[in-house]
Amino acid sequence: MTCDEHKQAFQQRQQQWQELVDKACARFPERRENFATTSGIEMKRLFTPEDVAQVDYTEDIGFPGMYPFTRGVQPTMYRARFWTMRQYAGFGSAEETNKRYKYLLENGQTGLSVAFDLPTQIGYDSDHELAEGEVGKVGVAIDTLADMETLFDGISLDKVSTSMTINAPAAVLLAMYVAVAEKQGVAPEQLRGTIQNDVLKEYFARGTYIFPPSPSMKIITDIFAFCKDNLPSWNTISISGYHIREAGSTAVQEVAFTLADGLAYVDAAVKSGLDVDVFAKRLSFFFNVHNSFLEEVAKFRAARRLWARLMKERFGAKKPASMMLRFHTQTAGCSLTAQQPDNNVIRVTIQALAAVLGGTNSLHTNSRDEALCLPTEDSVRIALRTQQIIAYESGVADSVDPLAGSYLVESLTSQIEEQALAYIKKIDDLGGVVKAIEAGYIQNEIGDSAYAYQKAVEAQEQVIVGVNKFTIEETPPENLLTIKAEMELKQRQKLAQVKEQRDKEAVSKALSELKQVAEDGGNLMVPILAAVKQYASLGEVCGVLRQVFGEYQEQ
């Protein structure tokens, strides 16, 4: 057949099918008038080659490990090595968390991920008045290097990669990690891991900011510069969409606002004199993954392609590594239900599968009981096993990007890229991310999506199994993990003891040197490292920086 004959045959069949559809719909009306993804992208009845007519395989999809990386950042993806199975964990004291890490490593986890408590994340010591009731609750409490030594006791830091969810005080925790490694005889250049270090999203989605945007960006670029020279294998930032999505954004908004933040960091680093092809390869990303399976797979592919294009076109990046969007994924905390919590195992499985089919580089699977409390050991093991079953039993990791070429997936990938880029241009017009945050634009966009979702749930347009449909009478679950009130007291005592035993003169000297460097605008990493080695506390170091830089006030 000639090309024209093909086209004619296609149209003829399509017309016949449309007649069948009309008859079917007359007898069995469809469940809804319109089907759409969470981002409002139309889920057509059927996707055909017509929907991907504009997609050029070589230019837009290409080959894995090659620009624009739609199919993945490595040439063979999971055929060589599975994604890193990295469960985010931390609670109570450093001793308890250390035990949990050893448990996870013994069960086949391949990387560590540290959850810090809120006082640590906001730069307060456990004895600060605002820390009351919060110590050890959502993560582990770290006050001084002594806690960090306990946290990694018996874990060789040259053998594991460690991700730390720490933002405003990232420089301090990274310095502590380097100091612990040094005590273990591990050189900084051997260290592998990630600090989140993404302050921008804290202002509009996560809330653990300390300093105003300008000094925050300065600290971030200081870390980039320090790591370039000292920790070449460290991911200096994890630009995070996770929390944007948890705050209520759609999939498109998650991609858009995350990449917009990324552009702001690259811009700041370039302006501080760093070469894009030197630091950009250490940028990493962090996304959420929801139940909307096909949209989620497309989201990851779209994010990779869009980032590669932006890096090339806007910053003139030349090295492939500078354009690769490497990312960690966590399943959606906000999709977990307190009702019939075992159902969450299934939700997490669907989400994890979407992340793997989207080509994630590492993955955290949530535990079934996290809408109730911190996860128990049993729940964490099931969550890890979910990843292992996908990896070893399902076969989806045996061929690269297996959903590529699906008319639906390619069409969604293109539409998500297009809509995210439109948001990024809108943010450009507002003067960039910081201006968009100050104007409340991003917060409002997320807030509108969150509210629309809640409305849809309450109207039962969005079904949540076990919550607004298929509900049962339940007895409250037992065996929940709780943090005992004594823990806070003990942590304060430990801090007091460390403060008593350290070289007080050396601490105050190190802190005044830090203040001097902060005032002079020098790189802060060196004096921070010197201070933590003397057991200056996190609160003391951040206290000095608060004095010099001031604190951010929510608009």
């Binding site: 653990t208 705050a247 409250p476």
Partner: protein, 131 residues
């Protein structure tokens, strides 16, 4: 006609998760109530001062960090100390069932758990304010 219900939605403690607080604030506003949202990272003292200054009928506290047992009763106690115990206090967040009885005993009138609908909160307020 009953007067318009005035509510302070507040985030005590260091927790930054305010999706729920914002959604509830908006739903109450859409239901015709006057709503003030404090923003995140408020101390119980700040919340009580705002509640009294704004002369609200009710204070809704949201906490997802696990610090609710410290923070919620403190708000009730401070309101009482300032002679404002007529202000109704309710709360929500990641709150285990086992903690609810203790919180109610401490004077928190109702706790809305994950998955609660905003209609339940609206109904609770219309039932308990303006009586």
């Amino acid at each position: 006609m009953a007067k318009r219900i005035k509510v302070l939605v507040a985030k005590p403690g260091l927790d930054g998760h305010d999706r729920g607080a914002r959604v509830v604030a908006r739903a109450l506003r859409d239901a015709g109530m006057e709503v003030i949202y404090t923003g995140i990272r408020q101390t119980p003292e700040q919340i009580v001062a705002t509640a009294i200054q704004e002369d609200v009928d009710a204070v809704g506290l949201s906490c997802l960090s696990g610090a609710h047992n410290n923070l919620f009763p403190k708000v009730v106690a401070l309101l009482k100390e300032k002679g404002a115990e007529d202000i109704l206090v309710f709360g929500g967040g990641i709150i285990p069932d086992g903690d609810i009885a203790g919180l109610k005993k401490a004077g928190i009138k109702e706790i809305f758990r994950p998955g609660s609908s905003t209609d339940e909160t609206i109904k609770f307020l219309t039932d308990h304010v303006n009586q």
